[in-house]
């Protein structure tokens, strides 16, 4: 069976979604997640995705970037049912530790050198205990140069090392804001091996198995038959198909 590659962080800022999906397919992805931070445009994204005629699994992702835990608590109940993935940018220690504990959040992500710096051992331990994935967008490395990139690489390696040490899943995505920031999955794998300090097996899982599992689990949770992880309604008494 061929490996199914996923890029679960493509920003909605990309103007033409159908062109983006076509390009993702050309690069060799089996699925992508279109990400937004604006609740108002979630419906717009869903309608664009429903028109999708390309053989590509497209999901919706909501990224929260807040400095205050209370603000995140306000946003979460309104969106959890409508998106496949919810991620939180680690803006400070409090946010990263809280997000690592909360069951509604799937991924902890980073958007700058500063956000990488605030991710400490405590948050990593909580993320590991609560089975949260730690995401590394390749865009960070594409946009930085020289000393800035060298310092960034050090922090990226530190965060990934912490994630693996405490048993969190690692996800590598593009974080692309235009199609020119997307890279082919096998090239991302090379970057992960040579620059991010991951072994081949972990890097491969980070762009295929783990992102796919996150989307599938989330979709299962959102389905009407879901009761608990591992428990779902297969039929009801009196139903035609129900065998109870």
């Amino acid at each position: 069976m061929p490996i199914m590659y996923y890029d679960i962080y493509v920003d909605f800022l990309v103007p033409d979604i159908s062109k983006l999906m076509q390009f993702a397919r050309e690069l060799g992805f089996s699925g992508i997640c279109i990400c937004t931070s604006d609740v108002k445009i979630l419906r717009e994204i869903s309608s664009s995705i429903s028109k999708n005629e390309i053989d590509l699994d497209v999901g919706v992702r909501f990224s929260i970037r807040e400095n205050n835990v209370r603000r995140i608590k306000d946003i979460l109940p309104n969106i959890r049912r409508y998106v496949d993935i919810i991620s939180v940018v680690c803006t400070n220690r409090e946010v990263s530790a809280w997000s690592a504990r909360d069951g509604r959040i799937d991924i902890l992500t980073f958007d700058s050198y500063e956000s990488l710096r605030v991710f400490a051992e405590g948050a990593a331990r909580l993320a590991g205990e609560n089975k949260k994935a730690i995401e590394m967008p390749i865009r960070l490395l594409l946009t930085a140069r020289g000393i800035k990139r060298a310092r960034l690489l050090h922090e990226v390696r530190r965060v990934l090392w912490l994630a693996r040490r405490f048993g969190s899943d690692v996800v590598i995505s593009s974080g692309a804001r235009s199609i020119y920031e997307m890279r082919a999955p096998r090239d991302v794998l090379s970057i992960a091996i040579t620059l991010l300090g991951l072994d081949k097996d972990t890097a491969l899982k980070a762009i295929s198995e783990i992102p796919r599992k996150i989307i599938e689990t989330s979709r299962e949770k959102r389905s009407r038959n879901f009761v608990l992880p591992g428990v779902r309604i297969v039929g009801k008494m009196g139903d035609k198909n129900g065998k109870v």
């Binding site: 390009f23 050309e26 690069l27 060799g28 490395l141 594409l142 946009t143 140069r145 020289g146 990139r149 235009s178 199609i179 020119y180 920031e181 997307m182 890279r183 082919a184 096998r186 090239d187 991302v188 090379s190 970057i191 091996i193 040579t194 620059l195």
Partner: protein, 108 residues
Amino acid sequence: MVKFERRRYLAFKLYPEKKEVKKNSLAREIWTSLISLFGEKAAADTNFWLVDYDEEKCIGIARCTNRTVEILRSAIALLSSVDSIRISVKTLKISGSLRKLRKKYLLR
């Protein structure tokens, strides 16, 4: 006879904003990326050479050694622009034979 190193050829496709990317500029950008990411020693170890670049098809063939394929691949993947033209890159194939790649992608 034991060879000093084995060569590998890497075919890649650029997706530029405009089709104005020149071979020399591209080679210079790849060198810069190699040196900036891996240092002069590792860049020298790759024995990099941009063998071919078709400006129409935006397909290029780069040479490196068998031990440095991943290094060259990530250096090329981390190119973000050439002469201020934004680009995306995809590696098409890696082969030990230049002729095969030329035949397949450049129709030569």
